[in-house]
Amino acid sequence: MTTSIDFTRNFARAIDLDSHLEEDPGALREFPLMPYGEACDMGHAADGTPLIDPRLFDSPEFFRNPYPYYRIMRDHYPVYHDKLHNCYYVTRYDDITDCYFDDEGFNTIPKGSSSGVLGNTQLELSGIEHRRRRNLYGQHLVGQSLQARIPAIERLAREMIESWDEKAREGVDYIHDHDGVRTVEIGKAFANEFPISVVCDILGFPKEARDRFFYWYNSMMSGLGGSATQKQGLEARQDLEDYLEDIVEQRRKEPTYLYGDNGEIVSKDIISKLCESKIDGDYLSTEEITSNIALIVGGGGETTRGAILNMLFLLLTHPEQFAAVKADPSLWDTAFHETLRHSTPIGGQPRHNTYDVELHDVTIPAGSLVNMVDFSANHDERIFEEPEKFDIFRKDLYSGKLLRSGYRKEGKCSHMAFGVGPHLCPGAWISHQEATIGARILCDHMKNPRINVERMPKDIDGVSLRPMGLVSVGTLWIDFDLEDSRA
């Protein structure tokens, strides 16, 4: 028998007891902030394969600098089993598109983090149930209906920008004039509210309700994913639905209409149309309508806001590409798509597999949460050359009209920001119009715009601008020359 001293020493060494007792598990969750684009060392397997520590996914480092880690996952763990968060990550473009198209094998039954706040929506249906409802909502956001709304979108954008002069005189904290230069925080001055205003306009809500919508929307977004503000998010959604419920009941009795610039009736608004839609011979229930309107409000705001701010940020930090877009406005479309490839506002979608499946030698038991990482797909070097580079002229990105049935056309692949397959974002087209119209009108208005580096949040070196990482640009301070801007 060994002696007690021997045992104690050997045992403590074998299980690394002392370092466990000293170390603060909370502090361990902090991963060192690395130079942008480099991964920190989380250990290596015997064969040299880098390891991924799942606590990484909660760390500030990952939020700021995710792409090098996604690259490790793509190269070494195309299906990564995160046992701390009880889920799987799928990270390669080809795998994700396959899974998105297999609507039945990888279903969207609610278990993911959005269902708590957004409620019971189209997001959570699969197969036939999804298809038969999808067109009811989707048809109002595309094609003819949308074309008719473009003048209204342009008008809303101009109204917001024209109000800047008055706001500057009144004094607000996001517009400052000095020496013929105006400094504007584009988020507060434009991008935060513009998409919500468009959504309210299309849904036919009174202008007075927009502030409330803005609050509800902000609360719902901050409450996603079981965060500390989830209660506020749930309350906001309940308020929103209570408000909508009255409106839906009214419009059942008395439909309301959308009007064009000259006061002519364009069409009924979406809610009024939904009130008279039928599924299997039954009118849609009020709850069903309110839930999906809540989804439109939630889905139509954050994403488009992020797209506008990310696009302006990327263009202004790549001046030669910005000049090209200014010279040829038709390039706004490609700039929009390249922005969504390079820095998409939505990082991915959860799925739940219906069967036990084995993918890349990893067995995923039926009913598991499988995260499809769109961020990673968009930066998959198997599809896009030099994926970390922002290049609106890139040859390998499809920038045409996105279709549910395809993602690979003319030898190019589309980005994954809107997903693909049956659940392709129904707001893709309207979001595209909002972002490009909004950004174009902004840039027409601003003379010689440039980022006000002083006011922008900085990266760890204290000098360079903070990278976007997993979240979109939050605040964007732009200087532009005042004199000629209205000429």
């Binding site: 050997n10 250990g43 039954i109 699969s126 989830q230 038991p365």
Partner: protein, 465 residues
């Protein structure tokens, strides 16, 4: 608004080529030619089809504002999980943990109902968490293995305790947590396997790495897998020897088993060891002496009446169970606790919370060896007997299903572990007279990492040498 919960309705199988119908595996190729291997006979009942009415969402009143989302990952929780668990138990009996993608079950009746419901919930083997289910087979329930374990444990419980303690006795002081509790559990395991003494250190290190590796940490997983292969290589010649000259030990028992595919392998032996509970003997012994030394008045009771040692063990695993939680997975979509639990859902059944449920135990935070509302028999097939609840110790698995222990079966693991702890503790009382906590010592319980066993790692004590 309508109620959030409605009964699940499933549409029948609709896809003609749905995999698994004929129980055959099949490979489908996606649009990009990515092979997706679909296991036969594994289709979920929820499937991709569900009527619109079936839904659940969180209502305002269900929000979980009283617990921070990462509360169970903090250092405070690793040291003292009970305040957090009390919040869950009193407010959110089926807490949806979004960060961990799981549900926390915290009331006594709920936890026991999940743990005894094998039709709807399953426990996955440790090998599954390793992602290496093909590594080996678990023969822990084979009768010869159970007998070998029971007989060798009974034969060595007292001599091993006496040997360790008499070595310590002359020192007058020691850290009982590692030097006694951890060592005793390992020495006992070495005796059950009848390992050569020279290999003890080698074995202990590999064994612990193996047992620590199936959690969430990839580094520990790597170390654990390496340790498993090393152990398998080490056991191979030993198994050959014992197959030729069998003894009464556990290695001989596994080596002697005949299976459909021929003789058992060293990997099977390693798997059998892996799946066996190792934490209760070590953890319960350490926690029990931690509690007794920090509650000297209870220790006095034991000194007066040795019969109370057994009750002290039972009260320990109730008050401070080393295995705080067990993971169960929903086999199918099932409604429980006012929620629709989706198929595959992970339920964290918290023994720590259930054992301190005031609905079941009076003044549950109090450590009282003479507790009147705790069952003193081994529970059979359920967690209550004589109208009294037992403390839940998951490490020991479920209570035995047999209404009475048949003659051709050994005692349950529950009883064997309990008797071993009692034997060892009686030796402590005898061999270390005047045992008390070292002056100035402030011992505590602590899980080393998220999900690890909650036990005492430093317990400095003195006695009359």
């Amino acid at each position: 608004m309508k109620a959030g919960q409605q009964e699940a309705r499933h549409t029948p199988e609709s896809r003609q080529d749905a995999p698994g119908q004929d129980g055959q595996d099949k490979i489908v190729y996606g649009r990009n030619g990515v092979p997706i291997h679909i296991r036969g006979g594994s289709r979920t009942t929820g499937g991709g089809y569900r009527t619109y009415e079936v839904h659940q969402r969180m209502r305002v009143g269900e929000s979980t504002a009283k617990v921070k989302p990462n509360a169970m990952l903090t250092r405070e929780y690793l040291e003292d999980p009970y305040p957090t668990l009390a919040i869950l138990r009193e407010n959110y009996p089926c807490y949806r943990d979004w960060i961990g993608n799981s549900y926390w079950i915290s009331r006594y009746d709920d936890v026991t109902s999940i743990f005894t419901d094998d039709a709807n919930f399953e426990t996955r083997p440790k090998l599954w968490f390793y992602g290496r289910e093909d590594f080996g087979r678990d023969f822990g329930q084979a009768l010869p293995v159970l007998f070998a374990h029971a007989q060798r444990t009974d034969a060595h419980a007292q001599p091993v305790a006496e040997a360790i303690l008499s070595e310590l006795a002359g020192l007058g002081r020691a850290d009982l947590a590692v030097t006694f509790a951890a060592r005793y559990a390992m020495e006992m395991l070495a005796r059950v396997l009848d390992l050569p003494a020279a290999d003890f250190d080698f074995f202990v290190e590999r064994y612990w790495k193996m047992q620590q590796g199936y959690g969430w940490s990839p580094k520990a997983e790597q170390a654990g897998l390496d340790a498993m292969s090393e152990l398998a290589r080490y056991f191979e010649p030993l198994m050959e020897q014992r197959r030729a000259n069998p003894g009464d030990d556990l290695i001989s028992a596994v080596a002697g088993l005949e299976t459909e595919t021929g003789p058992t392998t060293a990997e099977d032996l390693v798997t059998t060891l892996l799946e066996r509970d190792h934490e209760t003997l070590h953890g319960a012994l350490a926690n029990m002496w931690y509690l007794l030394l920090t509650h000297p008045e209870q220790l006095e009771l034991l000194r007066e009446d040795e019969r109370l040692v057994k009750y002290a063990y039972q009260e320990t695993v109730r008050h401070s169970t080393p295995v705080l939680e067990a993971k169960r997975f929903a086999r199918q979509e099932v409604e429980r606790f006012g929620r629709l639990l989706p198929e595959g859902a992970l339920l964290i059944c918290s023994a720590g919370a259930a054992n301190r449920d005031p609905r079941v135990f009076q003044d549950p935070d109090r450590f009282e060896v003479n507790r009147k509302d705790l069952c003193r028999r081994e529970p059979r097939g359920q967690y209550r007997a004589d109208g009294l609840p037992t403390g839940i110790t998951f490490g020991l698995g479920q209570p035995t299903k047999h209404p009475a222990v048949p003659e051709d079966r050994p005692r349950s693991l529950y009883a064997i572990t309990r008797d071993t702890v009692v034997t060892a503790s009686k030796c402590v009382l005898e061999i270390l007279p005047g045992l008390r906590l070292a002056d100035g010592a402030k011992p505590g319980l602590r899980a080393l990492r998220v999900g690890d066993m909650h036990t005492c790692w430093q317990l400095p004590a003195t006695w009359e040498a």
